[in-house]
Symmetry: C2
Subunit: 242 residues, 2 copies
């Protein structure tokens, strides 16, 4: 719907528009396959004008990655009331929404592949900035989980469970993207269950973690994901025990 | 113990010696902190002679990484008899031995940091080669687990459990290296339990995985890690269920 009149955008407005256009392209295909010409064309401006706002593809990629990181970290926010399992399930849905929206770009980034879509070599500084953005999102996830558990100073075993579960969530999403052979709804629930299961493994051998697990499960409704899992595992365990 | 007589080494022998010396140094400190001068000095030869065998630090790093990858993949090999839990526990011990021997280099590599210890920018090709080596080790771990489960054509849910557990093992080792706040023996056992727990979560909602879990647990001795865990979880679940 063009009116034939092109309104002049302000500098910041134009920058934000370009970041949005670039993020869309970097998300849909592996970022190293996206050219500045394509971004210019999608934004409806000339290639030199893109360079007027961003010195090169790298800086535009980094701005797009920053926006995507802030977006993802924002999706971790969840009101701190109601059962924990249901809260985590809602966050997992929003995480998979994000993964689905940014599939190829997310894959390329997380596989340590073309994180920086320049054709030549990439600088150590650029790689550090990319890794810092990824680590920032992981830290945001970690902080949110602690906040929901109402724990400020976590024991080492809890920190390990949370951080290693975050990496499990990343790899589960990456494996899902590679062929989508399992429905994502199943994996969203599975990751909630995995969190409980990893906590339970730690709790089976450590009293402090066992107390924590009991607190986590205390307010779970009988139809919530945690309780459902515990019931199924107890039944499976009873069948499987030699 | 020098005899004062320096025996002349053959080309391949010298290359292998340099790779060993470099791997030792790249393992003990972050690889980007290790200089060619230091490698030359540790090998007892001149800097120009190092360059005679390897065109630069990158090629020496890649050769060291190849040796370390082969070494690690070799540690996954385990006779296919006896209870599965005990087999996996022995592999986890050897995995943590490796992680302990190569701590700082392993951390730097797996955190996507100074994987290639050149001071300048690194090429896309070099990064691809590094990632291919890491993926090769992951694939070796995956293949070994399938072989021990005697499964040739795994369902998607089993592939997901195994591959995501491998990433959990990597992140558990990295978190352990960062401060070593939990005894490694505990984490070796925990990873065996985590494998069973992630399989159990999948089995709780999928009949094919439930059959597989029953087969896995069938030959476990009552004092093995899997049975011990199941007993503890059943008891914890019974206490925790609302």
């Amino acid at each position: 719907m063009t009116t034939g009149v092109r309104r002049r955008m302000g500098v910041e407005e134009r920058r934000q528009q370009l970041i949005g256009v670039a993020l869309e392209l970097f998300s849909r295909r592996s970022p190293d396959e996206v050219s500045i010409d394509e971004i210019a064309s999608a934004a409806g401006i000339s290639r030199p004008l893109v360079y007027h706002y961003f010195p090169g593809k790298l800086s535009l990629y980094e701005a797009a990655l920053k926006r995507a990181s802030d977006d993802l970290a924002g999706r971790f926010l969840e009101p701190q009331d109601g059962p924990l399992g249901a809260r985590l399930l809602r966050v997992m849905r929003r995480f998979f929404d994000f993964v689905e929206e940014h599939g190829p770009g997310f894959s390329a980034l997380m596989r340590g592949g073309p994180a920086v879509p320049a054709d030549g070599p990439r600088s150590r500084d650029a790689m550090s900035r990319t890794n810092a953005l990824i680590d920032g999102v992981r830290q945001a996830a970690y902080d949110q989980i602690l906040a929901h558990l109402r724990i400020e100073d976590p024991p080492a075993r809890l920190e390990l469970v949370i951080r290693s579960w975050i990496s499990l969530a990343e790899s589960t999403a990456l494996i899902w993207l590679d062929g989508r052979r399992i429905p994502r709804q199943e994996l969203e629930a599975q990751l909630v269950h995995d969190f409980a299961a990893l906590t339970a493994v730690s709790a089976a051998y450590d009293e402090e973690m066992a107390d924590l697990l009991r607190t986590m499960l205390k307010d779970e409704p009988t139809d919530g994901p945690f309780t459902d899992l515990v019931g199924r595992l107890v039944s499976l365990g009873a069948q499987s025990a030699p």
